[in-house]
Symmetry: C2
Subunit: 436 residues, 2 copies
């Protein structure tokens, strides 16, 4: 058991925005869009796939260029949604920030968002891509592919490495970016290195994002990253922060369907309790198949108790063996599911899992951590916790274990949440197979 | 200039189905779904992520298992679309075969199809994934990720390496798979190696696919691969075969938008003429911006004549430099665009580009080749060529060049189209940058 102490002041030694801004200035210069782009902060960094002197005056009536945010390529160009029959009735543009935007999960997710699959066919979107110093060229490649896709709903794309710039006015922040675990690195080390990123991003959200921004943390360890993020964003409701456990829920549904011999659309009411780690609890007590309790349909209770959870958790590892890559496509589908669960009403009688702030939960789970629990939404971006769930000793015992782990993780990042000196007494390696 | 002769009989020396089947038998055995799967041909190869003895009797009323095709994992399980309110009104399931299914383009495309983004929210789909001996494990990984995504519309997934099995009853065949060009390989060599694959796949489509299957060839050299494919499928209308030039069209629209300083939704009527190679002709004479001829809006005609085409063609190469990978995401978007252009009515006054069989074309282009031309569709899967296009000497001259190239490619694959002995007198390297 590793015990490590971190100094509360060390959180600023990495990834501070002014430092990234300095790095940005040492990069080879990019061509800039000089015509509609207004630099809104000193950290602004925009680039363009056409030089200003190649661009003619717009042939069609355009919006006031001063209202245009920083931009990439064709997305620097002005447009007027009110001028066309088919776009006049569209909703107001929303800003969606994505970190780790040059990675494979984002490479699936961004194109789903841009196509209208996530937010609907009348919701224009602006994508704000956050990458790292190393990935800035790749981010430009992503932006170029978005240009070449001609998505009608995708109206603005900007790229950058400074969260204080990229998160400006974000209404959604999908935080995928995280450092992978290096050789020999313990979970405490990973918590610290990624925790610093998420502390910085929480501060940036607090400073510049929409006051009602919804945040979904995907980068691991996602529960505690989400906790760090929300603690560094005191002006944003803690309820707005989510840690992604939806892929675990989806995998659990698939395994229950396979075991019961039914198609997966018959499986409902599956909760993932707790941490996105090997202590997580896929709940077969409350889950239903075709409306019946799982334990009535799957009579092999030994399988439920001894194999089911392992099958769910080993899925990522098996996939890496088969496919040679981690599950970018299905992870991005589960992010879409998580977003859509918040913006569409939850079907009657069902619920979805999300890692949310535990304050005020009705289950007796410790407060002050980000814990995956069953949620319902009216489709307004908000959610409420489901009250009518049952517990037995077996479920309680497992929930207590994942709760203990999350409390230990919390102690381990106290220096990043403003709660004093960190003390790391984490149990063994609980990273899920196939994840870094 | 390379002159190579191929023996007409050499087409069967690679990739013959019986050979693949033999290879299949030498593979480590997979677990098989014994319960609903019926082996319909001797080449059937199915695998399952749950062992039969782990599966209980379905708890819900199921379809007759004998009607179930070969399957993967959870997709082996039965379902009844008539039993539920929300699925009762759905259309009849369609079979969509995808070759190169373990590759990156397919990894984007399959999830788009499964989500309903391509064929609509009431169209259930069966995905039939064709891979190679080498990629069979990766195919299982793709199928696992599709399982974990719980797409309501995705009802069946099967994987295999024998096109005679995988193409069974296919209503769409999206042919992405192709061998990359090896070091020092000339275009004639690439035409031969990939032509043999496409000859085999044409024969398989002819033998087992739906009589009205729509085929979109993406694997390069896609025009001549499509020609080989259709010549080997005499019982399927030649009109049903397409070579993908939609990414070129999309890139051309984006570059015209950038140059004109307008958003890309203002650009219409863009034709890519001819081959998907550097002889292709992005047509700025007929293209329109906000309804006006491009040449009236972009007054820099020197740019149109001397830089525009190169900008479109170099896009893939620039992307590889930036991003380190080829344009899988935007290619898959353009395949979606190509499909949707055939199943939704073309907007009034506009058209789309597709490489189609040139017999009976109204432009005076040589018959018997697959040539990209402007098309319109009523949304029934079929298309007609657009008549009201104009030509000038400049456009005619460039079209003649790409036509000559396609006729040379045709002579070079005569051994694969049943037209005698191949003679390869291809001009220099005309592969597009960033493509293999």
């Amino acid at each position: 058991m590793a015990v490590t102490q971190f100094n509360p002041t060390c959180q600023k030694t990495h990834f501070h925005s002014s430092q990234l801004s300095f790095l940005s200035r040492t990069l080879p210069r990019q061509r800039h869009c000089s015509f509609p782009a207004i630099r809104r902060t000193q950290h602004a960094r925009i680039s363009c796939s056409v030089a200003p002197n190649e661009v003619q005056v717009p042939a069609v009536k355009a919006q006031d260029p001063k209202s245009k945010p920083d931009c990439y390529g064709v997305f620097c160009l002005t447009y007027d949604l009110r001028a066309e029959e088919e776009t006049r009735s569209w909703k107001k543009l929303i800003n969606i920030a994505v970190s780790g935007a040059a990675g494979m999960i984002a490479n699936h997710l961004l194109f789903k968002i841009a196509s209208g699959e996530v937010f609907g066919p009348d919701q224009p979107v602006a994508l704000k891509l956050l990458g790292s110093q190393r990935s800035i060229q790749a981010l430009e490649g992503v932006a170029m592919e978005l240009e070449d896709s001609l998505f009608p709903l995708l109206r603005e794309v900007s790229i950058g490495i400074d969260p204080y710039e990229v998160f400006q006015d974000a209404e959604w922040a999908l935080l995928i970016g995280a450092k992978p675990r290096g050789p020999g690195m313990e979970r405490a080390g990973l918590l610290d290195i990624n925790g610093q990123i998420y502390a910085e991003q929480g501060k940036a959200l607090n400073a510049v994002a929409s006051r009602n921004v919804k945040v979904i943390v995907v980068g691991n360890p996602c529960n505690t990253n989400a906790l760090i993020c929300l603690k560094n964003a005191p002006n944003i409701p803690a309820k707005n922060f989510h840690a992604l456990t939806r892929l675990d829920e989806n995998r659990a549904k698939c395994q229950l369907a396979l075991k019961a011999g039914v198609f997966y659309d018959k499986v409902s009411n599956v909760t993932i309790w707790g941490n996105h780690s090997t202590t997580q609890v896929p709940d077969f007590l409350n889950a239903r198949i075709d409306g019946f309790p799982v334990k009535e349909v799957v009579r092999d209770h030994k399988w439920l108790e001894e194999e089911f959870t392992e099958k769910v958790q080993k899925r990522g590892g098996v996939l890496i063996q088969k496919w040679g890559r981690s599950s970018a496509a299905s992870t991005s589908v589960s992010i879409v599911d998580a977003i859509r669960s918040l913006i569409t009403p939850t079907p009657e009688g069902d619920w979805f899992s999300s890692g949310v702030y535990s304050d005020g939960n009705p289950y007796g789970i410790a407060e002050g951590i980000v814990f995956s629990m069953p949620c319902r939404s009216k489709g307004d971006g908000d959610y409420e916790l489901v009250k009518d769930v049952i517990f037995d000793d077996y479920l309680r015992k497992r929930i207590a274990k994942t709760e203990a782990e999350l409390l230990a993780e919390k102690r381990c990042v106290a220096h990043l949440t403003g709660e004093g000196i960190a003390v790391c007494d984490l149990p063994g390696d609980t990273m899920l197979p196939g994840e870094m």
